[in-house]
C-alpha cells in the first residue's frame, strides 16, 4: 500500500480506488468474482444437498431426515452394487487405456508431422466430438446389433450364415463404444503437451548420439506425460458415470453404476439411496484418479 501515501488526505474511498487502479490482482478479482460466485453457488448448493440426502431415508413418499449411514451401508454392502462399482471402474479404466494409446500416435502426428495442415487435422479430429453424443453412441447399436451393420453386411457377403450374437449387449460393446465416443477428448491434451516440447532438446539428443527410439522414450514421452495424465483424467471421470452407453449397448451384462443411480430417481424413487450411490461413485472415481495421477507422476519423474 505504498501507493496510498501519495494521495494526501484522500480518505478511505479514494485510497481504495487508487489501490484498485494500481493493483492488477484486485481488478482481476473484481472482474471474475460474480461468475465465480454464481458457478460456486450453482455447483456447491446442489452438491451439498446431494450429500445431505445421502444421510436421509426414503419412507414411502416422504423423506425421513434423521441422519443415518443406512444408505451407505446398502451402497457398499449389497453385492450387486459392489459389483457395479467394480465393473464401472474396470470398464472406464479399459476405455481410458485404449483411448489414450490410440490417440497418442495421432496427436504425435499432428504435433510433429502435420506441419502446414495442422489446423485442418485439428478441425477434422474435433468435429465428431461436437456432433450428437447420443447419436454417436446409438450408431454403435446399429453397427453391432443382431440385424445390424456388421451382421447383415457379413451375411450378405456370405461370410457368416447366422448373426453373431456376441457383438451387442455386453461390457466389450460398452468399451468399444466409449472408446470411440471419447476419442477426440484424448487427442487435444496430448497434442498440446507435445506441441510445447522445445524442439532443440530433440536436436540436442540427436547430436549427442541418441537414436529416434531412445530419444522418444527419454525426451518426448516424459515431457508429454502431463498431457497423457490430463487426457486420462478427462476420459476416466465422465465415462465411469456414463448412462447412455450402458443403457443402449450394454445389455444386462454391461449395466454400470449410473444405471442404478438413475433408477433410484425414476421408478423406484429412493432418492437418498441414489444420492449415496452417487456420492460413493464420486469418491471411488476421486480415489482411483488420485492414485493414478500420483503413480504416473512418480513414474515419469523416475524416467527423467
Amino acid at each position: 500500500m505504498t501507493t496510498a501515501d501519495s494521495t494526501t488526505g484522500g480518505g478511505l474511498t479514494a485510497r481504495l480506488a487508487h489501490f484498485y487502479r494500481r493493483s492488477e490482482g484486485a481488478r482481476g478479482l473484481v472482474l471474475l468474482s460474480p461468475t465465480m460466485l454464481i458457478m460456486l453457488a450453482a455447483l456447491a448448493a446442489p452438491m451439498a444437498l446431494l450429500a445431505l440426502y445421502s444421510f436421509w431415508t426414503q419412507d414411502g413418499y416422504v423423506v425421513d431426515k434423521t441422519p443415518t449411514l443406512a444408505q451407505y451401508a446398502t451402497s457398499f454392502g449389497r453385492a450387486t452394487y459392489r459389483e457395479l462399482f467394480y465393473r464401472s471402474v474396470e470398464i472406464s479404466s479399459l476405455v481410458t487405456l485404449i483411448t489414450v494409446l490410440l490417440a497418442y500416435p495421432m496427436a504425435y502426428f499432428v504435433a510433429f508431422r502435420a506441419e502446414k495442415s495442422k489446423f485442418l487435422w485439428l478441425i477434422l479430429l474435433t468435429i465428431p466430438f461436437w456432433t450428437s453424443y447420443l447419436l454417436r453412441v446409438f450408431s454403435w447399436k446399429l453397427i453391432l446389433g443382431y440385424n445390424g451393420v456388421i451382421n447383415s453386411g457379413l451375411m450378405s457377403l456370405g461370410i457368416i450364415h447366422q448373426p453373431l450374437e456376441f457383438l451387442l449387449y455386453n461390457p466389450a460393446a460398452v468399451v468399444v463404444t466409449l472408446a470411440h465416443a471419447w476419442a477426440a477428448f484424448a487427442i487435444l491434451p496430448i497434442y498440446v503437451s507435445l506441441e510445447k516440447i522445445d524442439r532443440s532438446l530433440l536436436d540436442a539428443a540427436a547430436d549427442l548420439g541418441d537414436g529416434p527410439i531412445r530419444r522418444f522414450f527419454r525426451i518426448t514421452l516424459p515431457l508429454s506425460m502431463p498431457g497423457v495424465i490430463g487426457a486420462a483424467v478427462l476420459i476416466f471421470v465422465p465415462t465411469t458415470g456414463d448412462y447412455v452407453t450402458p443403457s443402449l449397448v450394454g445389455g444386462s451384462g454391461g449395466v454400470m453404476i449410473a444405471n442404478v443411480i438413475e433408477v433410484q430417481f425414476d421408478k423406484v424413487g429412493n432418492w437418498p439411496l441414489g444420492a449415496a450411490l452417487a456420492m460413493a461413485s464420486m469418491a471411488a472415481v476421486g480415489i482411483v484418479t488420485l492414485l493414478f495421477v500420483s503413480a504416473m507422476r512418480a513414474a515419469s519423474a523416475r524416467i527423467r
Binding site: T131, L134, G241, E262
Partner: protein
C-alpha cells in the same frame, strides 16, 4: 530430426488416416441408412428414398422438441458467454492471486460426472420447490457451458497483443471505451465462437435435460424416447444426419473464427 521423418512419417500418416476412418465411419452409417428405402437398418441397401426426411419434417412433436432445444441453447449460450467474458479477461489480463484455483473452481463441472450434476440439480429444484421446465434445463446447461466458454475466450484473449489495450489507455481513452473500441472488436471472433460452442454443448446435452425436463422435452430427450420404437428409427436417422451436417458446419465456423487473426496483430481493426 528431419532426416528420418520420411520413413516413420509414412507409417504415422497411414495411422492418422486409419484413425480418422475410425472416428468417422461409424457415424456415417446414420446418413447412409437415412436414405435407404427400408424400415430395417441393415444391409443390403434396398434403394434410395427421401421419405424419411419428409416424415421428419412432418413430425410435429419432433419439430416442437427442436424448437425447445434451439430456445434453451440460445439462452444458455448467451448467458454462459456473458458470464465467461469477464472471467476470461481477468485470468488472462491480470495476475490474479490464486488464478489457477479460481479456474479450477469455475471449471469444476467438467470433473463431475454428468449424471451426478443432473441428479444434484434435480434435488436442488425439488428442495426449492421449483417445477421442472425449459428454464431449469437452461440453468443446468449454463453450469456445463461456462467452462467451455471460458476456455475458448481465454485462448482468444491470450492470442492478441496486450500493448494495444495499454496504448489506448495511454492515449487517454477510459477503461470502458478501451474495452468497447479495442478489446471487443479483437475478441469478437472469440465471443462468436464461444456462443457457437456453448450452443452446441447445450443442444447436444442429454443427461442434464433428461433429469431437469418437465413435460416439455429438448430434442435429445425426445430422440431418447423415440429410440424404443423401431418403426420411427429411419426418421430419427434422418434427423441425426441433419444434425451431423449442421453442427459440423457450425463447428468449422466456430474454430475458424477462434483461430483467425490470432497469428498476426490486426492493426487494421483498431
Amino acid at each position: 530430426m528431419r532426416n528420418n521423418a520420411g520413413r516413420g512419417g509414412i507409417g504415422l500418416f497411414a495411422y492418422a488416416i486409419f484413425y480418422l476412418a475410425f472416428l468417422y465411419v461409424p457415424v456415417l452409417f446414420l446418413p447412409l441408412f437415412s436414405f435407404n428405402d427400408s424400415v430395417f437398418i441393415s444391409f443390403p441397401l434396398t434403394g434410395f428414398t427421401t421419405q424419411w426426411y419428409g416424415q421428419m419434417l412432418a413430425d410435429g412433436a419432433m419439430l416442437h422438441a427442436l424448437g425447445n432445444s434451439l430456445q434453451v441453447g440460445a439462452i444458455a449460450s448467451l448467458v454462459s458467454t456473458m458470464l465467461a467474458i469477464p472471467t476470461a479477461k481477468a485470468l488472462t489480463r491480470y495476475r490474479v492471486p490464486g488464478g489457477a484455483t479460481i479456474l479450477g473452481i469455475v471449471n469444476l463441472s467438467l470433473f463431475i460426472p454428468e449424471i451426478v450434476l443432473g441428479i444434484s440439480l434435480l434435488i436442488l429444484l425439488n428442495t426449492a420447490g421449483v417445477p421442472r421446465s425449459l428454464a431449469t434445463i437452461m440453468l443446468g446447461h449454463i453450469v456445463v457451458c461456462v467452462p467451455f466458454a471460458i476456455t475458448v475466450l481465454m485462448s482468444r484473449f491470450d492470442g492478441f497483443d496486450k500493448n494495444l489495450e495499454e496504448a489506448s489507455l495511454d492515449l487517454g481513452e477510459n477503461g470502458w471505451m478501451t474495452f468497447w473500441r479495442v478489446t471487443f472488436p479483437l475478441v469478437l471472433p472469440g465471443i462468436i465462437s464461444s456462443l457457437l460452442l456453448s450452443f452446441m454443448v447445450s443442444f447436444d446435452d442429454f443427461m442434464i435435460a433428461f433429469f431437469l425436463s418437465g413435460t416439455d422435452a429438448t430434442l435429445p430427450v425426445y430422440i431418447w424416447g423415440e429410440l424404443r420404437f423401431p418403426a420411427r428409427l429411419p426418421r430419427v436417422l434422418a434427423l441425426g444426419a441433419t444434425i451431423l451436417v449442421v453442427s459440423g458446419v457450425l463447428i468449422v465456423l466456430a474454430e475458424w473464427l477462434r483461430q483467425s487473426g490470432t497469428e498476426q496483430p490486426q492493426r487494421a481493426e483498431v
